[in-house]
Amino acid sequence: MTGPGDPPTDEDVALAGEYVLGALALEDRQAAALRIARDPGFALEVARWEARLDPLAEEVRPVTPPARLRRRIEARVFGAPRQARPWSWLVGAGGLAAASLAATLWLGQPQPPAPGQGGEGLWISDMVSPDGTVRLAALYDADSGEMRVSVGGAAPATGRDFELWLIQGEAAPISLGVMPHQGQAAMPIPEDLRPLVAEATLAITDEPEGGSPGGVATGPVVAAAPLRRI
């Protein structure tokens, strides 16, 4: 998190500008994108460059897209059930399998953590609020890159949502999305975040409905637990 006494370096400003210019090679671009997700100060520099350079796009004259595109977009955006973030919720899907997954996560014997190998295996994080009223279990399959969560216990207050965060070392938490109030959900973890999942801690915070407005956690931490290999 960038504080007021922590101005961006010239190097950060230049890199943010290069990202917005778009000329970086794939690897450098991906590294910068990861930085945007983890470092709000850097993300702000990028937003400033976007505003600064935007008039260069004035010369691009509008082109009306084909009508079928609008229908496809409508189907993609509205066709799915509640979709607060780029998660594909499978709420209620999977029935028994999902229910037994939840039972395994809550009742299963904890295994001793294995040495960190981010690229493979199953990882779980069992988050329980200190008063025991909110429980959220997450199971991450590093081979498929999919995370499944199971939410139980007390729901957030009216007008609030629980949001899940990935915390790796000292870096700013990365939002993984808004949680359903009850039940199971599955989501693919974006490829660029996968290397960060192993050894990370997951946390849920209490946020305004729809999730934290600025991509930075604003509410109190409800529960947190490290991911451990099973």
Partner: protein, 183 residues
């Protein structure tokens, strides 16, 4: 353009609240510009259509990330489109880019009348003035990167300079533009 900005801001705010009609209105207001941007960068109609779908899914999902204090709503929407198109462009295998007819120019809607054009231009006048202060080949390279999506590698080949030289040209040009714009 202040009227258009406040209209777009309101639509984005309503999209955050999951207002479907606002999303459709936002699509009508912004899709032609965003499609043109993706088409110009990708120079491939099918790919541009594909990316435009991603762009509007992102707008629906991430409208809460728009920072009204930092950028105009149009600048934010344009950035979402540029980012998605450039991500796609960089993920392509290094391939020969079409150097022939510019699809975006060929397909462009009839341009605005001279009066509207003058208003449009005044918005960009400041950056145009600053671009003119750069050596002309560097200003051209900035434009080729930003508008046409050329990479450092492609620009280095075009201007027959080493990759690192091209990168430091453009970095210096950016810093100079930033200083000029904040002067």
């Amino acid at each position: 353009m202040a009227g258009q900005d406040s209209e777009l801001s309101e639509l984005i705010a309503r999209v955050v609240l999951r207002d479907r009609q606002a999303f459709l209105d936002l699509y009508s207001a912004s899709a032609p510009k965003l499609f043109a941007i993706t088409l110009r960068l990708l120079k491939d109609r099918a790919e541009a259509e594909d990316v435009l779908q991603e762009v509007f899914v992102k707008i629906w999902n991430n409208a809460d990330r728009y920072l009204p204090d930092v950028a105009s709503p149009a600048a934010w929407l344009n950035a979402v489109a540029r980012n998605a198109a450039i991500d796609r462009l960089r993920a392509r295998r290094p391939a020969a880019r079409s150097e022939g007819l510019d699809a975006a120019e060929r397909l462009a809607d009839p341009g605005p009348g001279p009066e509207a054009e003058a208003i449009l231009r005044s918005e960009g006048r400041r950056i145009e003035t600053c671009m003119e202060e750069l050596p002309s080949d560097r200003a051209e390279a900035v434009r080729r990167a930003y508008v046409e999506g050329e990479s450092y590698l492609e620009l280095a080949e075009r201007y027959a300079v080493p990759l690192n030289t091209m990168r430091s040209w453009l970095r210096r040009s950016l810093i100079q533009l930033r200083a000029c714009l904040s002067a």
